[in-house]
Every structure is written in C-alpha cells, then in structure tokens.
Symmetry: C2
Subunit: 195 residues, 2 copies
DNA sequence: ACCCTTAATCAACAGACCGTCCATAAGAGA
DNA sequence: TCTCTTATGGACGGTCTGTTGATTAAGGGT
C-alpha cells in the first residue's frame, strides 16, 4: 500500500530503527524499542514487518537495490581502459545515493550495525568489476602470485574503506571529492603513501 | 581461578559460543543456548560471566591482547625501511596466533560475528604502523592529495581483507604464505592487478 | 584417606520482550 | 457520507533473562 498513513508509519519506523542502531546497536534493540521511539503501537509494527530481522532485511534490500542500479549504470565507460573498470560515473552515482539515505546507511554500516550489509555491497561492487572486465577483450585480473580471489578482495577493500571512513566522519566531504579519492587511490601502492 | 573444573567449563563455554556464533549468529544466540550446547547448567554460566555481552567482551579482549603482544614484538625491523613499517615478523606472529585460536576468531570475524572486533584489530594494526613511522627519522605518512586518515585506512584495509578471506576460506594456506601475500600486496597499486 | 573449600547443579522467581489475536477507534478515499 | 483500510490498546502464553537458596559433586591440601 502507498496509503498516506502507511507511508508515514514506515518512515517513522525506519527513522526510529536507524536512530536505535546508532544508539544501542542492532543486537540490543527490540521491537518494543522501535515502536516506542517511532511513537506507534507495537501491534502496528507487526502489520508491516514479521519481526526485527524482517525489518532489517527489507530496509537493507531497498538500499542495496538502489545502489545496484547506480553501480550498473555506466554506459560511457571504455571497456579497454583499466581505469574504467571502476567507472567514476558508477561510483559517484552510488555515493550520491548514500548521501540521500545517509541516516540509515551510516547506522547499518557503522560499528553497531550489520556487518553483512557491507559484505553484500562488496559483492555487488565485485560483480560490477567482473562485468567490466568481461566486457573488455584485453583486460583480465592477473595474478602476480596472487590467487584471483585475494586480488579481487584487495581491489575492493580500499574502495570500501574510503566509503566507511566517509560515513563515520559524518559525510563532510562531497560525493565528488570521495569519488575522486577512490579514483586516485587505485593508482597508488600502499607503500607509496609513505615517503 | 585456575581450578581444573573451572578451566574445563570455560573451555566448553568458549567452544559452544564459537559454534553458535557460526551457526545462528551472535545476535540470535542466547545464554540458554550456550549452556545447553556446552552441556552445563545455565546457572553455572552466571558464575563466570555477567551476561552474553560480558562473555563476548572477555573472549575478544583475550584474543586482542595476544594479537597486540605479537604485533608489537618486532625488534629487528629497520626503522628507515618503508617495507619494515609493516614488519613481516609481526604479521607472521599475529597470523600464527590466529591459527592457534582459529575456531573462535573465524566465528567472531565472520559474517555473523562481531563487526567491532575487526575494527579494534584494525586500530591495533594502525597503532603499530604509527609506532614504526615514529621510530624513523625519515619516514612519514605522506598525503598525495589524501587526508592522512584516509591514507591510513587504505593502508590497513588491504591487510585486513587478505586476513578475512583467509579465515573465511578455512585457513587452508599457511601463516607464512599469507604473511608473504600481505608483504607483496604492499608494493602493488590496485590497477596493477589488471593487465 | 581425610576434610574442607570451591564449583556445579537444580528448581523457582519476577520481569522483559516476544508474536498473536480481537475488539474498537481513527482516518483516507470514493 | 459511507466504506474499507490502518492504527490502537489490551490481553494471551511462551521464551529468555538474571538472581537466589538449597543441595550435590569434585578438587586440593595436609
């Protein structure tokens, strides 16, 4: 239903949930807490969600779908340019969505949130990279003594680390600044940060 | 107490806890579960721990202390060699401890474990790197357009990513192999994994 | 082998939250 | 205005919690 009161109630639940994840952690919060904080009856919660886990899953799925959309919209990326394996356009789009849904995403990604969420996002990012590599006739994930799996994780981890820090710092920088940092970081070996 | 039965009971609790974290996740497991699985009376649990959170914290602290010890024992590292900012010796020592305490660490780091644990470990690793940089007269974390904070996180993330994957793959490789991979990864920019 | 300390067991307690139900009130839409 | 949907409020039995008190079992010291 896109009923007015339904929308209002669901928004209140999402807002309360985000607050509570930040405040007392996903583990500790209860359905009673959510209802109390959202200012709704506990029974009303159960009209919309099966339980706490269902709420978490629905909210996460919505966010991941939106992120997926943006990550995979990178039409004008050059298939054979290694730099475009992680298209600026796609990263920026995703970061802009993060900014729009900041309260929830910060909470769920944060230290008291759900570890699995970032794991699933990492998976999406990996798929995008795989897709870009597949599009190219010349590029592939080379080994350099690294099992393919490990190489991929190392590639992903830097991107996710930057995004996580951005979130925990409160999103001070603009999505453009972060996208640029991610872009630049791809060209630097860890030791090059030392001089 | 180092009483025989105390030691036996605590071991049973830790083992049961690790199993249950792996199986149903840290969120969902209860003290009743732990007691049942460990084959002890629920009351006995409360003779040793305040509650589930206390158990988690005690086990995590023990592990982090042991890791800290090994990370900070790197006497023969060259202060002015950038490569020794992350001394092979220290990394290997830490990985060997992980192998010893594998069941627990895999569970707590895993997708249904405690996100905060890795966060704290990341902090320790960061401190070690800061300490090594401080020892040197010539080295420092340079910017290259990166805020210091972001540079540090990118440095850390690759190391942690490799360790996480090692854990989730069941620790097939030896600590030496992983330590070598971490060592080598420091010299490669993400795009160099593509050819 | 003995006693005595310490740990583990068992049963019972009130309190919190759970998931469900039903009767009632409020409100949105035609 | 009338109707259909959503929200409310209260009550149910059930599970888990943290604590207590009485009892049994095991360990260590001499």
């Amino acid at each position: 239903m896109t009923n007015r009161s339904t929308v209002r109630t669901k928004k209140a639940i999402k807002h309360a949930f985000s607050e509570l994840v930040e405040e007392k952690g996903l583990d500790s919060l209860t359905v009673s807490d959510v209802a109390r904080t959202a200012g709704i009856n506990r029974g009303t919660f159960y009209l919309h969600y099966v339980d706490k886990d269902d709420l978490k899953n629905q909210l996460e799925s919505e966010a991941l779908e939106s992120l997926q959309e943006r990550l995979f919209s990178n039409e004008n990326a050059d298939p054979d340019d290694p730099v475009d394996v992680i298209p600026y356009e796609a990263i920026l789009g995703a970061l802009e969505y993060v900014q729009d849904d900041f309260e929830f995403i910060r909470a769920i990604v944060g230290p008291r949130g759900d570890h699995a969420f970032l794991g699933r996002f990492r998976g999406q990012l990996g798929q995008m990279i795989e897709k870009q590599i597949a599009k190219s006739s010349t590029l592939r994930l080379s080994m350099k003594g690294f099992p393919r799996e490990y190489a991929m994780q190392v590639m992903l981890s830097g991107i996710v680390a930057i995004t996580e820090l951005w979130l925990s710092n409160g999103g001070k920088e603009s999505p453009e600044e972060i996208a640029t940092m991610i872009h630049e970081s791809r060209k630097l070996a860890p030791y090059e940060f030392l001089k």
